[in-house]
């Protein structure tokens, strides 16, 4: 459990740095660190396929989009800063991250949140879940589950990706009559 605390603490520290940094490039790099450590946490929790998707999409594609947008527009000069606030220096950032990690560790050890886990699941759902859960290897189980049970959502999701591509083309297309 100690490594899990460490990794979750790193996630919180990176998120705190991403929100409070003055320089926009540091903020994007902190976002990258958040996503990568979250991917590692997913692997340690026992979800290797989800960790793969998180690292490939969120820590790969989306952060590259962020860097392209920021560098093309104004972040090329690294001293650019829109939110100057007098309180925020390195000491306050460190203090905020330390407080966040402290709250997480003490709350998760001491608090009894009493989440009603599967209290309202009928017995049919429980038995079906147990039958899905017996397998040898989590990756084959998840990929079989994804295509055999949730396959229709995957096909609709491909249409969402097509819509996003048409959206981006519509937003960034330049014709002479638009000027």
């Amino acid at each position: 459990m100690i490594p899990m605390f460490f990794v979750l603490g790193l996630v919180l520290v990176s998120a705190a740095l991403a929100v409070t940094s003055k320089n926009i490039i540091y903020s994007v790099v902190a976002l990258l660190s958040t996503n990568v450590t979250l991917g590692m946490a997913y692997y340690m929790m026992g979800a290797p396929m989800v960790s793969l998707f998180q690292l490939a999409i969120f820590a790969g594609a989306v952060v590259v989009f962020f860097v392209i947008t920021v560098m093309l527009t104004s972040g090329g000069d690294m001293e650019y800063d829109i939110d100057p606030s007098p309180l925020m220096n390195k000491k306050t950032q460190l203090a905020i991250s330390a407080i966040a990690v402290q709250i997480m560790i003490s709350a998760s050890l001491g608090l009894n949140l009493d989440f009603p886990y599967r209290e309202y699941a009928s017995s049919a759902i429980e038995s079906l879940s147990i039958s899905f859960g017996s397998y040898d290897d989590i990756t084959t189980a998840v990929s079989q589950f994804l295509w055999q049970v949730r396959g229709m959502d995957l096909i609709i999701q491909s249409f969402v990706i097509l819509t996003a591509v048409v959206c981006t083309i519509a937003m960034l297309k330049m014709r002479r009559e638009d000027e």
């Binding site: 886990y117 599967r118 699941a121 079906l128 396959g151 959502d153 249409f159 000027e179």
Partner: protein, 505 residues
């Protein structure tokens, strides 16, 4: 083998969704051909797809009426329903799909002549078809995650459609604000889905209705309720989550304003109703939703009084109308829900027609400021006539269909013991007539020096508005067909719940 299921047993989707998805996929290719041939085929293709999907809704209605319990379950390649994505269509789904199909067909005919001189028409048509497809998917889905996927489809298309005329700064700003608020709501929705899954072990509507429904009021169920309201409430424009709407609706092109105000808001409200009635008992959310209804009505109507921008006033009026619909949801009775769904259909016709007619005025004169439009009504008689009918309907004047739905709503709220809502509703209706009449008087008064010259709008735009006006007046005097279908729809939400559950489990 993993992939054999698709090939051997086939993918089954409800017919309107299939038509609009495939039509939307084919539109860029047709756009490519039409650019080579210098014709405008994509507009005709969009009208064709809308008409075919409306026919698909009719076949769905036939199928649902013939099934034993009036519930149709569609799932793909032999997947087990409590865990897989499925479409569960009852009369309520057919009713909402009919409303979506009708307005989308009328708006696609209107936008043939509105977007005549714009660029990127192919992308416009593709995105409108995908947005309509997303809305069909929401009203027909039987599983929370399927609803989320179609919700994102509808949302993505609408973000860019709002900021379509990107050469001005207004649409871009409004589109960005809309995107930020709507994406935050999507994250809240995912959180609520995680909490529901943690408590119930499934995300299927029928399975949730059988187990989670009688849960007592603990902090966790209150958290689920709060995140659901935030998640669905941003798209439904519930106060205080409405702040994107007065910027997004005026800045969007007029056919998109009509679609947004007419059916996108109502689809958000349908999703909220469906999930609330499935996951909670009506006594759980009676008081919070009644409070939200009161606040939404009052804020929407009060803020509309001070507007000088024509479309912005209509946008605030939409917020007020959503407040009326929330009254019906809070009652928890079939009669109240009948008023809500009838008002959804009427509002889509009336507000859609108001936005389309105002769009004709904007198309001809180029301005939305009411001080510059004094006396324009005398130069555009047909448009002013349709605006007159729309405003009479929105205010609830007897003889139009708006009166009947408002009457049922206020009657139901008194029956449920929430008489303050009826009182507030009547006061707000009177208040709304004030700003509607102000616009009409300004349009019909004598022209001043600031007035811009205009002639009557093109025949397609006026024709669509006249068709909708005729529909509103006819339904005002002879409402029984639509009231019949709406009462079937509202019955299926409350009394048909056992049939709904029985179709799956």
């Amino acid at each position: 083998m993993v992939g054999q299921g698709i090939i051997s047993q086939g993918l089954q989707l409800p017919l309107p969704i299939l038509i609009t998805l495939l039509g939307g996929m084919a539109t860029p290719f047709i756009g490519l051909i039409s650019e080579k041939m210098r014709l405008r085929l994509t507009d005709a293709w969009m009208v064709l797809v809308s008409a075919l999907s409306l026919y698909g809704v009719y076949t769905l209605y036939d199928q649902v009426s013939k099934t034993a319990n009036h519930v149709l379950l569609i799932y793909s390649w032999g997947q087990t329903p409590p865990f897989s994505g499925c479409f569960e269509i009852d009369m309520l789904g057919v009713y909402m799909a009919f409303s979506i199909g009708l307005l989308s067909l009328l708006v696609s005919v209107y936008s043939i002549s509105y977007m005549e001189h714009e660029s990127r028409v192919t992308e416009f048509n593709t995105l409108v078809i995908f947005m309509v497809s997303g809305m069909y998917g929401i009203v027909m889905s039987g599983d929370l995650f399927t609803l989320f996927v179609f919700w994102e489809l509808m949302g993505l298309a609408s973000y860019v459609l709002v900021s379509f005329l990107k050469r001005n700064w207004g649409p871009i700003e409004a589109g960005f604000k809309y995107l930020v608020m709507s994406a935050t709501a999507g994250a809240f929705l995912l959180l609520s889905m995680a909490l529901i899954y943690g408590m119930a072990g499934t995300l299927n509507f029928a399975a949730l209705a059988s187990t989670l429904r009688g849960a007592p009021m603990t902090p966790w169920t209150i958290l689920i309720f709060a995140t659901l309201i935030v998640g669905f409430g941003v798209k439904s424009a519930i106060v205080p989550l409405h702040t994107w709407l007065p910027d997004a609706h005026p800045e969007a092109p007029s056919p998109i304003s009509a679609l947004l105000s007419g059916i996108v808001i109502e689809t958000g409200l349908y999703a909220l109703t469906r999930v609330l009635y499935i996951a909670f008992e009506p006594g759980f959310f009676k008081v919070p939703i009644a409070a939200l209804a009161l606040v939404t009505m009052t804020v929407g109507n009060l803020l509309a009084l001070r507007q000088d921008d024509l479309k912005r006033m209509l946008a605030y009026s939409s917020i007020g109308q959503v407040g009326y619909m929330l009254i019906g949801i809070s009652t928890g009775m079939t009669y109240g829900l009948l008023g809500t769904f009838l008002h959804i259909f009427n509002h889509s016709l009336m507000k859609g027609m108001a936005f389309l007619s105002v769009g004709s005025i904007v198309h001809e004169t180029g301005t939305r400021d009411i001080n510059k439009l004094k006396g324009v009504g005398r130069m555009m008689p047909w448009t002013t006539l349709s605006i007159f009918v729309a405003f009479m309907g929105l205010g609830g004047v007897p003889g139009t269909s708006g009166f009947i739905s408002k009457f049922i709503l206020f009657n139901a709220s008194m029956g449920a013991g929430l008489s303050i809502l009826a009182l507030a509703g009547v006061l707000n209706s009177t208040l709304s007539m004030a700003y509607y009449l102000r616009v009409l008087i300004a349009l019909l008064s004598k022209r001043t020096e600031e007035t811009i010259e205009a002639k009557e709008a093109p025949i397609l735009m006026v024709g669509v508005a006249m068709v909708m006006a005729v529909l509103i007046i006819v339904l005002g005097f002879y409402p029984s067909p639509i009231v019949g279908i709406a009462s079937d729809a509202s019955k299926s939400l409350i009394e048909g719940l056992t049939n709904y559950i029985g179709a799956v489990l």
